[in-house]
Assembly symmetry: C2
Homo-oligomer: 486 residues x 2
């Protein structure tokens, strides 16, 4: 990495790992959301507030209040400013004078509003911070999340444990949603940042930082626009060669681009340019938060080297036609198995009432038979051994009774699926559609997740994700083979 990148990373280390945080301007009207979000912060929390009406509420939370940032006795590593926009320049000046590690401005109403006053104020704080080298995050953002030390931006976020996934989001909503939804999909955040209008620190700075962060194995990004396209792409190429980087570009459409202007004031490049650049840099393009979560879950829990030739086991034939269509539309193959595989299947699998080309059909009464589970194990093994198959997907309907919550409990189907996941050398996923109830299906997916098994709520989501990652692994393979040529 370049010296500049190293120094950026060093500069940001203090603010991503603060030992003291000051919240400026938290108030009753927003439920003291900032001070509350820090209720489990492993360090000092200070409040800065001059409105006498707010002081009792702050005292009730047990937080020391000071009328001014300057008055805080010790050093302040991270400032969260939630103040009227007109006050922002004064707070930036205080941050500079106090030599804080960095400051996030939740305050909005700047260039994104398109108003003269908003644009002017944004310029003032940009100039002040740039000149002084202040690590300004935002404005118009929710800033940092570091679960290990309890630095959060909403009380609903998990804390206490360091995950392995970094997230960089221009939008605070997307940063929040990713951390909350990710919890249900086995995705734990290492560090994340929402950076709004990006007047000083931009996506590239954060990508450099998380690229160099050993705890961060995978990086997801939600971007509306970047300031220095060339610098961003160089950084992306370098980081993506070492760890998976997933990019969701907000404002890909013309209408979406108009919305970004009023959201973070970003000038959006065209979707096509972005798509080509993401691909050339070896990053993974996603188009929604669901796709982001599905792809990261698969990177975390499914064996690498996903290929395009799927072996499928589906519940009942009608479903298996639909499944085949879905995978084929996504650009995957569902090839015939070898003759040896069909011979093995014929030795135990009753052709009447099911079919076993590919997908292999299992009827809804499959598990009622005494040898249902052992037949499933054999079928999985056939796919595992078959050289025509790269990757295995199994559909399970959640049984009328929920799968057991106790990981030790001996649910025979769950046990068989768990054992297979351990044993197989091939990428393997489970699909649990919402059949009898959403609640049952989502519970079943959580039980699978507890055992480290990636599952999806629909074939369409599984197919799209597997294709995306097959392309990614193919690209990486070509890159590593072609390394000598470059």
């Amino acid at each position: 990495m370049s010296n500049i990148a190293e120094s950026t990373a060093k500069k940001l280390d203090r603010v991503f790992n603060p030992r003291s945080v000051a919240v400026v301007g938290d108030k009753q009207a927003i439920g003291y959301m900032w001070l509350r979000s820090l209720s489990h912060f492993k360090g000092k929390v200070y409040s800065v507030q001059i409105d006498p009406n707010e002081l009792p509420g702050i005292a009730e939370l047990g937080v020391e209040n000071y009328p001014n940032l300057m008055d805080i006795p010790g050093p302040v590593d991270y400032v969260i400013a939630s103040v009227p926009r007109a006050v922002s320049p004064k707070i930036v000046e205080d941050c500079i004078q106090k030599k804080v590690g960095g400051a996030c401005f939740f305050t909005s109403g700047f260039a994104e509003t398109g108003t003269e006053e908003g644009i002017r104020l944004q310029q003032v704080i940009t100039d002040l911070a740039s000149k002084a080298g202040l690590n300004l995050i935002g404005p118009n953002c929710v800033g940092l999340y570091n679960p290990e030390i309890g630095l959060r931006h909403t009380e609903a976020q998990a804390y206490g444990e360091a995950g392995s996934v970094g997230f960089i989001a221009q939008s605070g909503t997307q940063a929040t949603l990713f951390s909350l939804m990710g919890q249900h999909h086995g995705i734990k955040v290492s560090k994340s940042v929402s950076y709004g209008n990006a007047v000083v620190l931009d996506s590239t700075d954060f990508l450099e930082y998380l690229g160099a962060d050993d705890k961060t194995r995978i990086i997801g990004m939600y971007i509306e626009g970047v300031k220095d396209g060339r610098r961003f792409l160089n950084c992306l190429r370098e980081v993506a060669s070492r760890k998976p980087v997933l990019i969701w570009k907000g404002g890909e459409t013309e209408a979406g681009a108009r919305a970004t202007a009023s959201h973070t004031g970003s000038l959006a490049e065209s979707g096509v340019v972005w798509q080509a650049a993401i691909k050339q840099c070896g990053a993974i393009r996603v188009e929604t938060l669901d796709e982001m979560i599905d792809a990261i879950k698969t990177l975390l829990y499914v064996k690498t080297g996903i290929g395009t030739r799927l072996g499928l086991i589906a519940m009942s034939g009608g479903q298996s036609v639909a499944v085949t269509d879905t995978f084929a539309k996504a650009g995957l193959e569902i090839p015939l198995l070898t003759n040896a595989s069909y011979q093995r299947l014929a030795s135990f699998f009753d052709i009447i009432g099911g079919s076993y080309r590919n997908p292999l059909d299992i009827s809804s009464t499959f598990f009622m038979a005494a040898n249902g589970v052992s037949n499933l194990v054999s079928m999985l093994d056939v796919l595992d051994q078959d050289p025509n198959i790269d990757c295995i997907a199994l559909e399970l309907f959640p049984a009328a009774r929920p799968l057991s919550h106790d990981p030790e409990a001996k649910d025979p189907v769950l046990g068989a699926v768990s054992d297979f996941t351990e044993k197989t050398g091939k990428p393997f996923v489970v699909i649990v559609p919402e059949v009898y109830s959403e609640a049952l299906a989502s519970e079943a997916r959580e039980r699978l997740m507890e055992r480290g098994i990636a599952s999806f709520s629909s074939f369409a989501r599984a197919a799209k994700t597997l294709k995306k990652l097959a392309d990614y692994y193919q690209f990486r393979k070509e890159q590593s083979q072609g390394k000598g040529d470059g």
Copy 2:
């Protein structure tokens, strides 16, 4: 309708509304699923079984057993046959002799297996039934569902109430899934049928029947192939001119077509031919069961005349960029509002911290303010009055506390949304994404559904559905305007 159609409808009336049902060959190995499924049937249920080992289990269910169909004292309107395939010809002969209203063969192992014996047996039962005019449904299917009289094919299906949606599925799995998943989306079945290999009665017969059925306002179909394409398309065009018909074609891809051959033995036409035919007939094409359910839910609960110009209210700006992209990618417009609308918005809506082009952003703290709900009401009213807007979508995050289960309870947001749904002249949908938990979101969607408000779990699903129905209403409008020309 033609005389033939009328006579088909008359012929099928008895079997769709049986007063007596006989199950032939139900057994312990499949948990007596057929007799159990009839536990709430409003009529006589008989069993036909000769295996002495099965008789105690049948007696335990309180069902009269006879060794032969002929021995049943009264008339039998509907037979469900779950027998070894080799016995099928004998049972078909018995049905003919007993003059039953119709018979569904759950038995599989016929032409769909590609085996010589399977093909031969299928020909035998086809010839027998055709010659005698027996209403044979299947084989390789689960047959009829008529909730009003408790005629079901699985115990999990609802009973006691007649819905308004008919469903015709070549696959038993899809018929079952539709009825079960539909329950969570406010979709109640009038009558449904799964018809498998379609050797005697085919999709067209059922389409004619449900087309003429007054209780059936909307018809969904899952088709793998049809025997007489011309007859099918003529019938489809006629029925679709009177009520919405949605078609999901299984086996659209080459791989999927291969799977249909081994599922119901259907010869699949190419996807492109189907797509064109569905469109020309004025039916609605869907590609998955989720799309089927979303579109039917919208037909049931959203005002007709959906147009392409959307007015959106989204929670927070980052989301609103993503939302705009999603709707634009689906082919919908998110136009600017009129100046009059922006003036009205400016009178109560704080531009700082939100934006109000389109989408209108409401932040996550929006409802914390005392006037949050009344501002939402005003915003909805602005969109309702704006001539640039055809159709309104509102994003709601489920609150940390669940929405109230009691429809009378005064949840202010839910109340405002309910009132608006009543009042507005424009199509209106709600999006409730899975943020804090799947359980909370699905509960919120159920609360909305109880009040007759259509909601979706993602913007992508809402956008795809609205575009599909906008196209449909546009087609119907053009058809009715052009009627005089034809």
